[in-house]
Symmetry: C2
Subunit: 452 residues, 2 copies
């Protein structure tokens, strides 16, 4: 590619493109309430059409946000791009310095709901494609672009949609949403995600709260819950659910190699968290391996009986816990619920009910795939640094729903966010420089992936 003409185009059209970015931010699109979802899907589709794409707005269910699907270019390689056009609710509104849907530039940052997550990234990619076509001619590869509108409410229909449309999705690599720069300004590339299974455990031991003097005769829901939880993980952090740990595999040599180069500021993190050492004294490679590749079992919340000031001598009838499990591949949310049920029954806790919420499967990607290598080379070209290569994310997302149906397509997240982007919070923002560089990065990525 001719980077000079590409960069010049972006510079010369800066004002107009920024206005386009603002148009995306001005249109509310709150998945949780439905506000502006239809209008936003139409706006995205119109914008894709101006790129010369074949665009479809494809429904998920009659009442849900549709998927915007676009195809552009031709070539030996096909790049699948995933973004979402919905945003988190903007509340609490009083904490915004300027209104969330009136984009404002201050001190070189653009502020609005969605400025980063995920309209900022979507626009960056659209503008890069526009600049490519205006300055380099035809795209050197085929792009398939999936933009969903329910990411902020758990991508509730994505899995089903992808299953129905898997024939369309075939590709050689996928560029995911998210990613950007860490606290020290280091550019990060992330491959894969852990899965998640979120459940509520509920015990109802007696009909109504009793006077605690009845404790020698009546079962205590809180004790039942404590013992059931204790049977799930011991105080040495061993998850005791039979069959759970057999899904854990050692990271590959390439994944381990990446872990060795991840700069983790251990002392800074520990100070921030107010602890003297990480769990089990973990440090260095050991800590990174656990963070990125170990399944977990976390008590996210406990509720039972008297929680006010002072004393109330009550034997609680009911107790609940919220528990999340971060998962490795093949350990699906369904399997976890099944193993957990069997474990509780076998351990004498048939009285402990499991309420399971929607979850995600894990997707650990091939960290040596061409799309990953291309993303890495593009980072060296644009940012002049070797990016931090994160072989897997400790968090979770709907990546598996996309890649699994199309033969485990390798996925990489390469974004424009930064450590103070306030994603999901008031005053969400992106430094304009990240957006400018991001467009050049996408151009380089297209170039590198097409050549690879």
């Amino acid at each position: 590619m001719n980077t000079h003409t590409f960069d010049t185009y972006l510079l010369q059209n800066r004002e107009r493109l920024l206005e386009d970015y603002k148009d995306f931010l001005r249109q509310p699109s709150v998945a949780a309430t439905g506000q502006g979802i239809t209008e936003m899907a139409a706006l995205v589709a119109r914008r894709f059409a101006t790129l010369g794409a074949d665009v479809q707005i494809i429904p998920t269910t009659p009442d849900s946000a549709p998927v915007v699907w676009a195809e552009l270019g031709e070539g030996d390689k096909t790049l699948l791009i995933y973004n979402h056009y919905d945003v988190q609710p903007a509340e609490p509104l009083e904490l915004w310095e300027t209104p969330p849907f009136e984009p404002a530039v201050r001190n070189g940052h653009i502020y609005a709901r969605g400025a980063s997550d995920d309209k900022g990234e979507l626009v960056t990619r659209i503008h890069a494609v526009e600049a490519w076509k205006a300055t380099q001619g035809a795209l050197p590869l085929k792009i398939k672009w999936l933009v969903e509108g329910e990411e902020e409410v758990g991508s509730v229909h994505l899995h089903q949609w992808v299953e129905q449309h898997q024939g369309m999705l075939k590709s050689n690599g996928c560029l995911w949403e998210g990613g950007g720069f860490d606290e020290k300004g280091r550019f990060e590339l992330t491959m894969g995600v852990k899965g998640i299974c979120y459940v509520q455990l509920r015990v109802k031991a007696v009909d109504h709260d009793l006077h605690s003097s009845r404790a020698p005769l009546a079962p205590d829901a809180a004790w039942r819950l404590v013992w059931a939880l204790n049977s799930i993980k011991d105080n040495q952090e061993n998850i005791l659910i039979d069959g759970y740990m057999k899904y854990v595999r050692e990271p590959s040599a390439a994944q381990m190699e990446m872990l060795q180069h991840i700069p983790m500021e251990e002392e800074e993190i520990k100070n921030k968290w107010g602890i003297h050492e990480f769990l089990k004294g973990r440090s260095g490679l050991d800590a990174l391996k656990a963070l990125y590749f170990a399944p977990t079992a976390t008590v996210c919340g406990l509720t039972s009986g008297w929680q006010g000031m002072g004393t109330k001598t009550v034997l609680p009838a009911e107790a609940t816990a919220k528990v999340d499990f971060r998962l490795v591949p093949d350990l699906t949310p369904d399997i976890v619920v099944d193993l957990l049920r069997k474990h509780l029954d076998r351990s004498g806790f048939t009285d402990v009910e499991i309420v399971s919420y929607d979850g995600y499967r894990a997707e650990f990607c091939d960290v040596e795939a061409p799309i990953v290598k291309a993303a890495e080379r593009a980072a060296k070209r644009i940012y002049g640094q070797t990016p931090v290569m994160i072989p897997n994310s400790p968090g979770s997302g709907p990546m598996w729903s996309l890649s699994s149906f199309i033969g485990g397509v390798p996925v990489v997240s390469a974004g424009i966010s930064h450590s103070d982007a306030r994603v999901h919070s008031p005053n969400e923002n992106i430094p304009l420089q990240n957006y400018y560089d991001g467009m050049r990065y996408i151009g380089a990525l297209i170039d590198e992936f097409a050549k690879s």
Copy 2:
């Protein structure tokens, strides 16, 4: 005693005495707010004076409710009587059919806050003494009467007051407040109480709530609490605190004999609680022995992290539990806190903080003492039935503070309450017949105890 003249006096003065009862109920005396406490103490003292008693209003601390102390009569025996002149708050007021401090008679019941607990019993006893003196002449024994004004807020100064005035309190037996008739109309006598130690356990694991994807590195306060609790009692209901169970003694032969005659409606209770069997399959004597004589450890409440609807993937920084321990003699609240601290430290839970609240010591009484036998004979005389003899209460109260300083004086509770008295609730009431019979019962008790 001449029961005919005694009973005739009560009948002939019924209207006047009932008006006197109502005067007690009209005067608010809410310990929690202080409302009417001073006026109520003065009213009790004036009433004692009309009986010809030596009366003193003795302060506890300058800002707290005083003790009303009265001495009447002479004799070889001294009967100590314990009552309290304070009441629970009347709220929620809208649930009262008639205002809480405007006593009303409906369907043979008298309704007002304190009608049962404890003004009803105090008045019953005062009127019995009046009738005795009016019809039998001098009292056949000495009565020492302690009426405190802080029972409903945990008798916070009683212990100290008794310690300072123990010389005055010497007696041969004590008539406690409370008691009456069970659901089937059986009259009950109760001796002794369990103690109680109430604590909050608190864990702060990290500085602030973290994203749950950090679980491989950051300690989870909720897990720490679960494991700490699990170390306190196992799922077979064994309390594991080192040194705790050594305080447990077998009930005496006389106590066991009493247990064998307690009619426990097991199926009714289980149906009411919605359970198929009591804890550990307990039944019969085994269930009664545990209920009345076993120490306990009860989780009264749990709080941590996300407790709302749906999911929040949070690793909670803090978790707390409220725990009460019902105690046997010599296992004092201070000892429990000390044993618990040592147990937690030894078990690796130095991070679990103990916040301890005021507690009570246990007081298991001599169930064959003359005051108990006298109370039993009086019941047979007035109610024509052998009372249910309950050797100890599964609940807790300030009994130890009174009896311990005066050589373990035996205590018996013999009251006028019933199973629908709504004590501490709106529409507190007493059937007037219970009050009429109660006065005759107190006359018989004085007679029996003096003769014994």
